[in-house]
Each structure stands twice: as structure tokens, then as C-alpha cells.
């Protein structure tokens, strides 16, 4: 376009992409099975209880997905230090004044694009835009919260050391009931987050035409360079 060239940039390395889709699959599984745990459906009677393990399987799937989810998340945190600059932790958490100012300016721009739907200028950043980065940071906190409360509850059914590392949350919240309620409520954060997230990704792909969606599959984004 008018003198600009389109460049291909390798943004999301394989660990980030892998993390993303494993995470999305886990969150979907956890939300579905979690909802079923909180509000069990009526299964047609299939005979005596000893012949069936339906609810047990639902919970089992929840727990397996939970472990995958947790270690996948740890892997992403590691990659926040080891990965390329787009995956770096300071994309989510600008701790230097300079970065903060830069990301703040960009976040305002993004809000103009997304909410006021005012202008469309090519974004400065190639990786996550600043507002998205902050939202992902918020979701990382939610991941952490869900892991802590989940493993805190799981500690009651397990002798493994990992869940017991989180057992402190139960006295802190005043008991398993409260932990469960919070854990349940947080499911709705994930549902609402995913709705908005998926929509916005489509939206940005549509209005910016930089191939955002496919970037999470193949790793490449398209950037305009003005010469």
C-alpha cells in the first residue's frame, strides 16, 4: 500500500503456539467438566451404581485436564524468560517507566480502534498489542487463581506433594466450601474472557488484515514497513 512494503515476521515460536492451543483445549475441557461437576445432569438409570462410573469419569477428566493445564502454564511462564521478545514477560507486565509509557500510549490507541472504532493505523507493536498483553496478564492471574483453588481442593483427595503445596488456600478462604464457590465463579471469567478474546482476534484480523488468527497457528504475522 502506498509505498509501504509488507514484511513477514516470525512472532510466535512453537512453544507459544503449542501452549496456546493446549491451553485453549484444557480450558474448554475444564469449563465443560467443571460445569458438570457443579450442576450434574440427570443420567438415565443404567442399573446399579456399582456398574457405572459416569460422574467419576467427568471428575477424572477434569483432574487430568487440570494437570495438563497447570504444567502447560508453567511452561509458558518459563518461556516468558527464555523465548523471543514477543513472548517475553515484559510484554504483559511493563515494569520500567519507559515500557509502561509506551504500552500505555498503545493501549489508548487500541481502545480507540476497538471501542470508539475511530482510526485504523498500523499498530506499533508486532506481538501482542499492549491492551491485549495486559488482558492476557489478567488471564494468567486467573489461571493461577484457578490452579491454586483447584489444587487446594484436590489436596483432600490426594497424598501427592503437588496438591498439598496449595492446601494453604483452604484455611485462608475459610474452608472448602468457599474455595469451591470461588473456583466455580472463576469459571465464568474464563467463559467471558474466551468469548471476547476470540471475537477480538477475529475483529483485528478483519480490520487490520495482518493475519492475526493464523499467527497462532503458523507463527507469522504481516507487518507494514513504511520506507
Amino acid at each position: 500500500m502506498n509505498g509501504a512494503t509488507i514484511e513477514r515476521v516470525y512472532v510466535w515460536q512453537l512453544p507459544v503456539r503449542l501452549y496456546h492451543w493446549v491451553n485453549a483445549a484444557c480450558v474448554a475441557t475444564l469449563a465443560v467438566t467443571g460445569y458438570m461437576i457443579g450442576r450434574p445432569m440427570t443420567v438415565p438409570v443404567i442399573g446399579e451404581a456399582s456398574f457405572s462410573y459416569f460422574f467419576g469419569w467427568v471428575r477424572f477428566i477434569h483432574f487430568v485436564a487440570a494437570f495438563v493445564f497447570f504444567f502447560n502454564f508453567l511452561g509458558r511462564i518459563y518461556w516468558g524468560f527464555a523465548g523471543n521478545r514477543y513472548a517475553h514477560w515484559d510484554q504483559f507486565l511493563p515494569l520500567t517507566p519507559r515500557l509502561l509509557r509506551k504500552q500505555w500510549r498503545e493501549a489508548v490507541e487500541v481502545m480507540k480502534v476497538d471501542i470508539l472504532q475511530a482510526k485504523v493505523e498500523p499498530m506499533e507493536s508486532v506481538g501482542h498489542n499492549a491492551l491485549a498483553g495486559w488482558t492476557y496478564f489478567l488471564s494468567f492471574l486467573a489461571f493461577l487463581f484457578q490452579s491454586v483453588t483447584g489444587f487446594g481442593m484436590y489436596a483432600a483427595m490426594s497424598d501427592a506433594w503437588l496438591p498439598h503445596m496449595f492446601a494453604w488456600i483452604v484455611p485462608l478462604m475459610g474452608g472448602d466450601f468457599a474455595v469451591r464457590q470461588w473456583h466455580h465463579m472463576m469459571m465464568w471469567f474464563f467463559i467471558v474472557f474466551s468469548m471476547i478474546h476470540v471475537y477480538l482476534v477475529f475483529y483485528h484480523d478483519y480490520v487490520e488484515g495482518r493475519g492475526v488468527i493464523s499467527s497462532m497457528a503458523g507463527g507469522w504475522k504481516f507487518v507494514e514497513r513504511r520506507k
Binding site: 451404581a49 457405572s52 459416569f54 467427568v58 472448602d176 466450601f177 464457590q181 466455580h184 465463579m185 480490520v207
Partner: protein, 374 residues
């Protein structure tokens, strides 16, 4: 009184119990306290030789259901020995003394057995308005607890009131009802929650203190692990129905008759730590779930506020009793979906030009390049 203090065995003998009765009692208590067979001789030895463990038992904001539970303990020697004869120097509801005499007995124990006596507390302590909501002999419960705790060897908080505040501390807690462990620091405190606690659990806790002269292993909420390390749900005989997904849908349905799991009726078994499924109540006769009613979680903090009892999810604070986290979640989700739809529509209106420009700009370029890229 007078002379060397009698041991528990000597007291039992005086009461007319045989040695055989006594040994049975010891093994029963050891079992109740979760002590292995190899530790039995230690229990027998302790009850054989140890003199009375001086005990004062206070009653503050409570309903006396803990005492009621305790004296209905399935083994007669419990009430006979532990409660009646051996150790109890002061307890408002059961002592014969009254008025000044009772106060004198209390102070005698507290001075004579300074640092030695066991302090049992039933009931929470009001802290609002300087504690005037509960006064005994002209003093506030707050005062009494602080004074008695200062020289106590250890404190046992009986029941949910003393352990977590129970109904007095439920919202809005007008009297500022406070559990003991939040008032006293630096004293070993054992929480024995339940509304009431199981008699055998109470006896077991005392026996442990008596026999081993140390605090039993406690969990994160200060409860003896021997009784509170497992959830009601983990020891529930309806558990196979839970695992199969067979639930009672209403209290009068066929599934209730079949003995299906009460989870959907709001059973708190999965979030409640207690021994009901193992020890049961009234000499092992039954427990709520066996009688067809879900667990209400009476040994868990703020169980009154976690209502309604007959629903799995609590009501969402601030939205009235019918609203759960799911109702709120669905509403937020619907608003989000509506917002997304509106946004998508305005995008196509407001950005129509931009998008059209983009498409027209790129068309010529893609004609040639599109082919080479495949």
C-alpha cells in the same frame, strides 16, 4: 477431696467398675482417638496412674448442644468419669455449686493449678460493645477468657461456636461473636468443630491430651487430624451413587427411596471434614445422610452463611437468595454476547470505508501475486 488425688482407674473402681470394664473403656477410647493398638498400653498406663487433669469448662454464647452431645457419649464411663468425677472443676451447666461457690471453685483451680489446667470453651465470645452481650458473675466473657487462658496449659474450643463462631457469627454478626483462637494467641488451642461435635470425638480429644500430654496433630484449621482429616464425602456409604452420577432430584422422588447420592439436594459432604460417616451418632446408630438428609456442613466455618442448605451453589452475595454464581455468570455472558453482536454490526458500518479501501487497494496486487503464492 483431701489426700493424694485419685487416678482415673481408682475413681472408676470407686464407682464400682471392674478392671475388665476399665480396660474395655481404655481400648474403646484409644480406638476413638485414632491411636493404634501398640499405643494402647500408653493409654491404660496414663489412666491408671495420672491424677486428675484439672479442667474448667466455660459456656459462653452457645446452646449447650456440645455438652449434651458429650454426656450422651455411647460409653457410660465417659460421662461418669471424665465429666462427673475426675476432672471438671467448673462448668456452669452441670456443676452443683452456684453463685459465689462456683466462682470460688473456678478461682481455686486457676490459682492452685496455675499453668496446669485444661481450659475447655463452649461458645463464642462477643466482642462488640466491650463484650457486654455475654456476662457471667458481672464480668464479660471476654475478660474471663483472657484471664483463664493466661494460665491454662491448653485450650480446647468445643463445637463450631468456639472454633469458628457458628450461628452467632453469621452475617451480620451483631454481637461481634468471635471464636477463641482469634482472641487468644500463644496458647495451644485445639478446635473441635461441629454443631455439636460427635461425643466420641470430644472424648477422644481429651483422652489424647490426658494420655500423651501433648497436642494431637492438627490440620490447617487447628482440628485434630485423627477426626477431621477426611471429608464426610470420602466415608459416605452413598458414594458409589455419586461416582455413578445417580442423584436424588427431590426429597420425595424414587431416587431418594433408592438411596441415591444427595449432592444435588445441597449435600455439603464434599466440603466438610468430620467423622460422621465413620463414628456416626448415638452409639453408631446413624448420621444425617443415612437418615436421608444431606450434610449441612455444621463443622465448617460460616456454614450458616453458605446457604441455602438445599442447593449445591450458595446464593450470590448481594443478589438475593435465588441468585447463584451461575445465574450471574449467564447474565454476564449474555450481556457479553449482545455487546459482541452490537460491536460486530457497528464495525461493519463505521469501518465500511476503511475495509472497502483495503480491499480495493489490495486487489490489483493479489492478481499477480496470488497466483505465484498458490
Amino acid at each position: 477431696m483431701g489426700g493424694a488425688p485419685l487416678s482415673i482407674w481408682e475413681q472408676a473402681r470407686l464407682q464400682g467398675h471392674s478392671r475388665r470394664d476399665f480396660l474395655q473403656f481404655c481400648s474403646w477410647l484409644a480406638a476413638a482417638a485414632g491411636i493404634q493398638a501398640s499405643g494402647l498400653s500408653q493409654v491404660v498406663h496414663a489412666l491408671d496412674t495420672k491424677p486428675r487433669l484439672p479442667v474448667v469448662w466455660f459456656h459462653f454464647q452457645e446452646c449447650t448442644c456440645c455438652s449434651e452431645s458429650f454426656i450422651r457419649s455411647s460409653h457410660p464411663i465417659v460421662s461418669d468419669i471424665i465429666l462427673d468425677k475426675i476432672s471438671l472443676d467448673y462448668t456452669e451447666t452441670l456443676q452443683a455449686a452456684a453463685g459465689h461457690q462456683a466462682e470460688a471453685a473456678l478461682h481455686e483451680t486457676m490459682t492452685k493449678h496455675k499453668g496446669e489446667y485444661l481450659m475447655l470453651v463452649e461458645g463464642s465470645v462477643p466482642s462488640e460493645a466491650d463484650g457486654v452481650y455475654c456476662c457471667i458473675a458481672g464480668r464479660t466473657a471476654l475478660d474471663i477468657v483472657r484471664e483463664a487462658a493466661a494460665d491454662a496449659k491448653a485450650i480446647v474450643a468445643w463445637g463450631s461456636c468456639a472454633s469458628n463462631g457458628c450461628i452467632q457469627a453469621s452475617r451480620p454478626n451483631p454481637t461481634g461473636a468471635t471464636p477463641i483462637h482469634q482472641l487468644i494467641s500463644g496458647k495451644p488451642t485445639i478446635n473441635v468443630p461441629g454443631c455439636p461435635p460427635i461425643a466420641e470425638v470430644m472424648a477422644g480429644t481429651i483422652v489424647y491430651l490426658l494420655a500423651f500430654e501433648r497436642i494431637p496433630q492438627l490440620d490447617g484449621l487447628g482440628r485434630p487430624k485423627a477426626f477431621y482429616s477426611r471429608r464426610v464425602h470420602d466415608t459416605c456409604y452413598r458414594r458409589p451413587n455419586y461416582d455413578a452420577g445417580l442423584f436424588v432430584e427431590s426429597f420425595d422422588d424414587e431416587n431418594a427411596k433408592r438411596g441415591y447420592c444427595l449432592y444435588k439436594m445441597g449435600c455439603r459432604g464434599p466440603v466438610t471434614y468430620n467423622s460422621c460417616g465413620v463414628i456416626r451418632w448415638n452409639n453408631g446408630v446413624s448420621y444425617p445422610i443415612q437418615s436421608g438428609h444431606g450434610c449441612i456442613g455444621c463443622s465448617e466455618a460460616s456454614f450458616w452463611d453458605n446457604g441455602p442448605f438445599y442447593r449445591h451453589l450458595a446464593s450470590f452475595p448481594g443478589f438475593g437468595i435465588e441468585t447463584t454464581a451461575d445465574t450471574v455468570g449467564v447474565a454476564v455472558g449474555a450481556v457479553t454476547a449482545a455487546g459482541i453482536a452490537a460491536h460486530a454490526i457497528t464495525t461493519n458500518i463505521r469501518k465500511r470505508k476503511v475495509i472497502a479501501e483495503g480491499i480495493s487497494e489490495s486487489t490489483p496486487a493479489t492478481k499477480g501475486e496470488g497466483e505465484s503464492h498458490g
